[in-house]
Structures are given as structure tokens and as C-alpha cells.
Symmetry: D2
Subunit: 272 residues, 4 copies
């Protein structure tokens, strides 16, 4: 039931990592981040898919930074992927964006709020690209089965489901680690998004807050369940200056240590 | 701070009602429902906005009924509105749909999952039509202030916020009645959607369940808070045969009784 | 299925009210509150059960005020009841307290945290007094059926269940108004505790916060469901000086207006 | 800040385990379980505290098995502890029980529903024994600070806090793994109760359900957070025949494998 995105096996024995900055703040910044992250992933010998977003389509405030847009963003990402020999993942928000992005990137990502929009699922499924579907904050783990059936009905088997937390009271999310186990039982590859799982939605008034020191804690816990195929984490060379999701991104200089711990946990779990 | 949609005052002393079947099952059916509901609203002397959806864009299953689509659906709704002299409300799911629907209907409704999609808010705000924004199941009541600011930034003052329940564990929603009070304090008109508030999302496996006998109970409670300007309820002549949301719609023959009770509660609250 | 506590019918056509200050701050204070509340209840012609607590057994902090204890507290309450011809309700926390309190007061109240302690339920059930059981913040509405079965197994039919909110994320409660409907369907009288339902547990660091202006809002909503037999509200002549639960108690000078509104809503609902 | 219970260090570098059957079903059964578990703990070289309950004081139904009571139960447990050279932990439900149990056992455990009952905390704190306080299903992680302050005010420093899940909608609990991190930051030893965290409270009508295959999954996740000092798990030689909590207990024959995995994860986390 595993499949490949370039040389990265999805759902195989080795965990893969979706890493990159939240957004395409500027071209030179993304290149720098991609080179740095690639070098750490190679040192740690872990499969990497590089991530960045061309548009933050549901920012809390209308004055927030959004990004360069789908065409320009995907062009930059495709160049990075080609030059550095890395598969690329990016978010898409409409059927049209899915069609455009599919020409450039290897893995389309469906944002959590949009995971039940049939037209978007259909466009991604029919694009020929692999798809990472974030489970909505309003869905039960077993509700992802209906989404999987939509994907298959539209002819796509190369998809994975991503846990990123569930609504828990107001301005808070909780990660139910049982969710990873239940989704894995359904037979599709499972990703854990450690960055967005520690968000405090709307928690800072006009922006969304979070606890970046908790992202590696939850990633460790998720890896220890033995049900996770991939881990998604946003990484920034200076989170305090990030144009979006600053409070949740992992500082670049900590990435190597985080990966080392996750790999060690994975080893421990698989060997028992 | 009140405004008018045709002759219906939004945010004034009298409560208004958004009533109609969940979806445009077929042309003759919607005409029949519109005439029946209009006649009951006139008998009860309550302001009515007629509602039906041309597309159910996030059905649980890909084989579920969706509807006639935006152009054909809005054409039908516009004819009904003109002939019966009723303002019309319908859901829109993308910026393009908002532009098309705005040519035909009086009130655009933004679905809860999409309430933070900036492009959709912008298209609705700039359409010149009034907008009813459903609060996402993942939002705190006070988070609607950020949405309101987006609307105003895009030049729209004729909007209202709609409570339809918050994620509460798995496959369940809860209506926090304090939410109506808090949203009303923010200064925009507040609508309570009694139909979707009693949904059990994903609760019936491949479809979404609900408890239609609870819709009038929650509508009554909401009206008694004194913070509600309008009530949204889906009505069907035979909910058991509805092509969507059957378990939550109010049977047509009960509508008059429900309206009578809501009006009596409104009277009681306003007089004390 | 209704029963009487002195002349107050529980579960009959007229709503009854459990009113009084949170705690027995001092003897003269409770007398004053009892006289004032009785006079308002008589003016509004509503059945009254007077409430005060002799011990706050689960205060957030160990330095918080607790009260005069079971014997001295019940002695004072019994004198008030006899002199003013009022039935009395008070909280009990152990089987021994239940036995002592039952000698003095008419209605024993089981706190929410303790609603599943079998020994306490048994002692209350066997005391011969009526019992008001607060539904735990951790229970589903239908779980009260198991508690009711325990009461009946211990020989007690004169009990009622009280809704006071459910845990909703951290430091917050939500009142699911459907709960009142579901509990009423089970056949026992249902009380709504408006004061504790608006608590913010632990919300103010070392004490418990709340929103007293929301207590009448939720009481109104609850009354409008048509499933409520009684309403519990704590009343204080100066909530800002209360020794416990200050943020949630209704100021005495507002009580008449609140009762007037609740009675009007009850009228409206019953007449439709 | 660590302390000792006999030779078991609480809050030191090595994780300890609280293991045993849910209840004292009969004397020979508990002896058998204690010998078996001790033998596995010795083989795995992990510190063990043996657990069993003499009374299940809040069973869902009045006809459920409760146990031999505090005196007889503690006498049996004390003999086991002496003979097998094991520290013993058991639940206490009232101040009186705490005083009696403290004569026999090494570690008193405060049930989650009762974690805010000041008199019980006081009795445990003053007993001279160490205390394990289960965090209520209705408490935020940071609310345990108030409980810790009560314990210290009553003169007790030898206590630990235990996570066992938070109310999440109806008939469900969720473990927020961030809770372990936050509680550990407060400076007291932290225990994770894997057995009760997977309960489905009231989920099976008249009894409480659960998912025992999830207990090791959550224990693994908790251990991987790096914030857990001890793990509590109920173990039964045949969970399907257990007189209480059957659906959640770990079968004895799986215990060695579970401990091996937890130790391996602990190694992995501490070495990175």
C-alpha cells in the first residue's frame, strides 16, 4: 500500500519528513531554507519533501501577509525542486489552483478547513499528483474514511491523511494520539503535522498563537505511537521574524536535534 | 446599525426568518415550498427570506445529491423571488460563484467551513449584496470580530453572523448560547441556524445525522437569550424523502406552530 | 411523576426556584437574604426553596472561606425555614453529612463532582429527604439514567437532576440545552443551575471566575426549551463582596426582573 | 525534587511503574497477580509499585462489584507488600479511609473525581504517606498547581500528579500530551495513567467501556514526551473476566512487551 514520490517512499518502513518554512516570504529566503534543510536531512539520512506555501488564504486578518500567488510561487518551488533534487509539497485552495500547481509540484496539500470540499478533492485526485489531505479540526478520525472514498472514486490512490489537531473548546486544539492509530488502521499512510497541531487558533486577538516548543514534544509522542509514516514541521531560520505562523515554527538550528530524537524513537518502537 | 434587504429589516426590533428547503431538489418542488412557506409567514406576520441551495459542495459522500449548479439554481431562485416578492438567500462556495449568484439573489451566505477564506469573503463583500456569514465550527464567538473586520475592510457593512454550533468531541456539535450574547455585543446582527446546529456531523457513517425535533427546542432557547435578530431553519414537506439534510429539517406542517412559539418567546423577552 | 417538598410541587405545571446566597457567610446575612428573597418570590408568586451552603468543600485554594460546618449551618437553615415557612436545600459531601443534614433540611443537594459516589447517593436516598443531584461536568446527559437507577435501587423516588454545564476545553463550561430535553424525556424533574453553568473553572488563577450577567441569559434559554421544572440561581445583596462564587451570583436588586422574564417565557412556551 | 517510596525513586532518572489489577477480586487472585507482575518487573529491571483497589466507589451501576472494603483490602495488600518486598498503592475515597489505608500502604491515590475535595487532600497530606493525585477530567493541566499548593499547605511534599484524560464531548476522554509537559514544568513528578485514559465513560450503557489495545499506544506517546516519571497501567491475567474495568486492562501476557517498548522509548528520548 506504499507509493513513491520521486525517491521518497510514502507508507514504507522509513519515516519521511515534510519540512520547510510556512510561506514563500521571498525567493532568496526559500532557496536558503531549502538548501539548509536539505543539508540537515542528508546528514541525518532522512527522506525529505520540501514545503512552502504561495498563499495563506485564510489568515485571521485581511492585512496579514499572503504570498506571491500560485503561479509565481509554484515556479520558484519547481526550480528549487529541480535544482536540489527534492520533491515539493504546497497547499492548494481551489480546483483551479490545484490544476496549476500540479504542473509544478509533486505533492498537493489540501488545507484542513477545505478537506470536505468535493470539487477541490476531485481536482487534486484527477491531477495525477499525490495528495496530502489535512483532517479538518471538526472531523472525527473515522470520518477520514469518507474522504478516502471520495479520492478513490475520483481515481486517486496516492494520497495520505494528516492529523493536525481537533477543536478543543475555544482558541485551542488538542491532538488525540488515538487518531493516528485509528487512521493507520484504515490502510492509508498517515502524516502528523506538529506545527499546526500546536496552534492556538485566534488565540492572540488578530493573529493565531501557538507554542513552538511543544511541536517537537507532540511529534515525539506521535512517532512513538508507531502509526505515523511522515512528520510535517515548519522550520524557519528566525521564527520571531516569520511573516506567518511564527509562534509555531521550529528554529532551523534546532532541526537536527529534533530529527535525531524522532529517528531514535522510531528505531525504539520498530525494534520492540 | 440595522439595514434592509428589500422590505426586511435586519437587526431591527422584529425577528426575521430564513426559511426554505435544504436544496433545490427540483424546480416544481422549490416553487411549492416557497408558496407554502410564504403563506405561513404571512399568516404569522413574520418577515421572510426564502432559502435554497443550488449545490451541496461538501457532502460526506461523493455519490450524494448535489443540486443544479449555480447558474440554473440562481435563475430558478430569482424567478421565485420576483414572482412571490420575496428576498432570496443562497450559499456560495467560491469567489466566482459569489459573483454569479450576486446577480440573482439578495443575500449571499458563506458556509461555515469557508468562513475564513479571504477570497470568498472579499468577493461577497464586493458584490454589493448583503452577506450572512456562518461561524465555523472551529471558531470562538469572539473570533467573528476578525471576520467582521475583513468584511468592513472590503467595503461591506451589510452583513450578519450566524451561529450554527461548535465542534464538541467527535460527531457532535454543541450550541453555546453565550455565543449569541457575545456576538450581539460586537454590534452586528446575529442569526441562529437551528437546522445545522442539531447536526451530528458524520454521525451516520456515510451521511450526516441529526435530531430535527431538537431544532425548535434550540431555536426557542436562542430566541429567549434576547440576542438573536434572525432564525434560520430548513423546512421540507417530507423530511424523510429529502435529498440532503433530511434528519434536521422541520416538517412543513409543524412550521406554523414553531413560528408561533418563537414569536411568543420574543414577545415575552422584549416586554420584560 | 411530580412530588411535593412542603407546599412546593416538583415536576408540576409551575416552575419552582432554588434561590439563596452561595454560602452561609454569617447568621445575620443569611436571615437578611432569606427575608428579602422570600418577599420577592411572594410578590412574583413563584414557589421558592431557600438555598445556602454550610461548607464549600472543594474550593480552589486552601485559604478560601469554607463556612460554619454541617451542624451549625443546618441549625441556622432549619430555623430560617421554620420561621419563614420555607423549604430549605443545602449541599452534602459525605454520607455522614447527609445523615446530619437530613435532620434539618428538606432537600439534599449532591455536588456535581460527587454525583457518582455510590455511598453518598445511598445515604441521601435513604435519608427520607428529597434529593437534587447535580450532573457532573464529565457526564453525558443520558448517563444520569444510571444515577437515577441507583437512587431507585436505594428506595428513593423523590429526586431531580440538575444541569450545570459540561467541561468544554480548559477553564470553561458549556451548557448543551439539548441536555435538558433529553433528561426530561427520562421522566425525572429537571433543574437548571444558572449560576454554576456560567462559571469559568479555575479561570482566575487561584479562584474560579464567571460571568454573572450571563446567568439570566442562560436561565432564559433553559426555560424556553420547555424541559425545565426548576431554576437554581445564587443571589447576593452585593456579589462583589461575596466570600465565594462572587462573579456568578445575581445581585439581589436584579432578582425581581429576572424572575419576571423567566415567568413570561414559561407562559409563552406553555401557551403554544 | 525527587523522593523515595521504599527503594523506588519518584522523579529521578529512571521511570517507575504502578501496575496491578483494577480491583481486589479475591485474595488468591491478587497474590497471583502480584507475584507474576513482580517477576516481569524484575526481569525487565524496572521499579515497581503494586496497585489494587479495595473498593470501586463510583461504579456506573449499583449492582456492580465493589470489593472487600478498606480494612480487609489493605490488610491483604500490606501482606503482599511485606512478603514480596513491594511498595503498595491504593485508592482512598474519604478522609477516614485515608487514615486507615495509611497504616497499611505506602502510596495513597486520590481518584480523579475527588481531586478537589479539600478534606480528602488534607487527610492524605497529613497521613505521612506519599500521595498520587489523579487530575480530574474537568481540570486544566495548570489547575493542578492549586492542588499542589493545598498539599504543601497541609505539610506534604511527597506527592505526584497523574494525567488520566480530559472530558472530550460525551462518553469520551482525550489525552492532551501537552498536559504532561506543562505539569512537569511545575516541578512535581508526573504519572501517566494509560488504563483510565482510554476509558469511554458510560460508553456501554450500564458500564464503562474502553479500548485496551490503545493503552500501550498512549503510554508510548506519553513516555516519548520526555515529561513522564511514572506509568500507571492496570494488568489482568484475563481482562475479559475482570470484575471491573475489563475493557481497559492490559493482558498479563503482553506486559513484558509493553514494558520493553516503554523502556526503549525512554532510552531514546533521554539519549537525544
Amino acid at each position: 500500500m506504499s507509493f513513491y514520490i520521486q525517491s521518497v517512499e510514502i507508507g514504507g518502513p522509513r519515516p519521511f519528513y515534510l519540512l520547510g518554512p510556512c510561506s514563500l516570504e521571498c525567493e532568496s529566503f526559500v532557496w536558503e531554507m531549502a538548501r539548509s534543510i536539505k543539508s540537515i536531512a542528508e546528514k541525518m539520512d532522512v527522506p525529505l519533501i520540501f514545503k512552502a506555501s504561495y498563499d495563506k488564504a485564510n489568515r485571521t486578518s485581511v492585512t496579514s501577509f499572503r504570498g506571491p500567488g500560485v503561479k509565481e510561487g509554484c515556479r520558484i518551488l519547481a526550480e528549487i525542486g529541480k535544482e536540489l533534487n527534492l520533491p515539493i509539497v504546497t497547499d492548494v485552495h481551489t480546483a483551479q489552483e490545484a490544476e496549476i500547481a500540479a504542473e509544478y509540484v509533486d505533492l498537493l496539500q489540501i488545507p484542513a478547513f477545505l478537506c470536505r470540499q468535493t470539487d477541490l478533492l476531485e481536482a487534486c485526485a484527477k491531477s495525477g499528483r499525490a495528495v496530502n489531505i489535512k483532517k479538518g479540526q471538526f472531523l472525527a478520525p473515522w470520518d477520514t474514511v469518507n474522504i478516502a472514498e471520495k479520492m478513490r472514486a475520483f481515481g486517486c490512490d496516492r494520497f495520505m491523511m494528516c492529523e493536525r489537531g481537533t477543536t478543543f473548546g475555544y482558541n485551542n486544539l488538542v491532538v488525540d494520539m488515538r487518531s493516528l492509530y485509528w487512521m493507520k488502521q484504515e490502510g492509508f499512510p498517515v502524516v502528523f503535522d506538529a506545527t499546526h497541531a500546536v496552534q492556538r487558533p485566534g488565540g492572540l486577538g488578530g493573529t493565531t498563537g501557538g507554542d513552538s516548543e511543544l511541536a517537537p514534544v507532540l511529534a515525539s509522542a506521535a512517532m512513538a505511537t508507531g502509526s505515523v509514516d511522515g512528520v510535517f514541521m515548519e522550520v524557519h531560520k528566525d521564527p520571531s521574524k516569520a511573516l506567518s505562523d511564527g509562534p509555531n515554527q521550529i528554529p532551523l538550528h534546532l532541526l537536527e536535534g529534533v530529527l535525531k530524537r524522532l529517528q531514535a524513537i522510531h528505531q525504539a518502537v520498530r525494534s520492540c
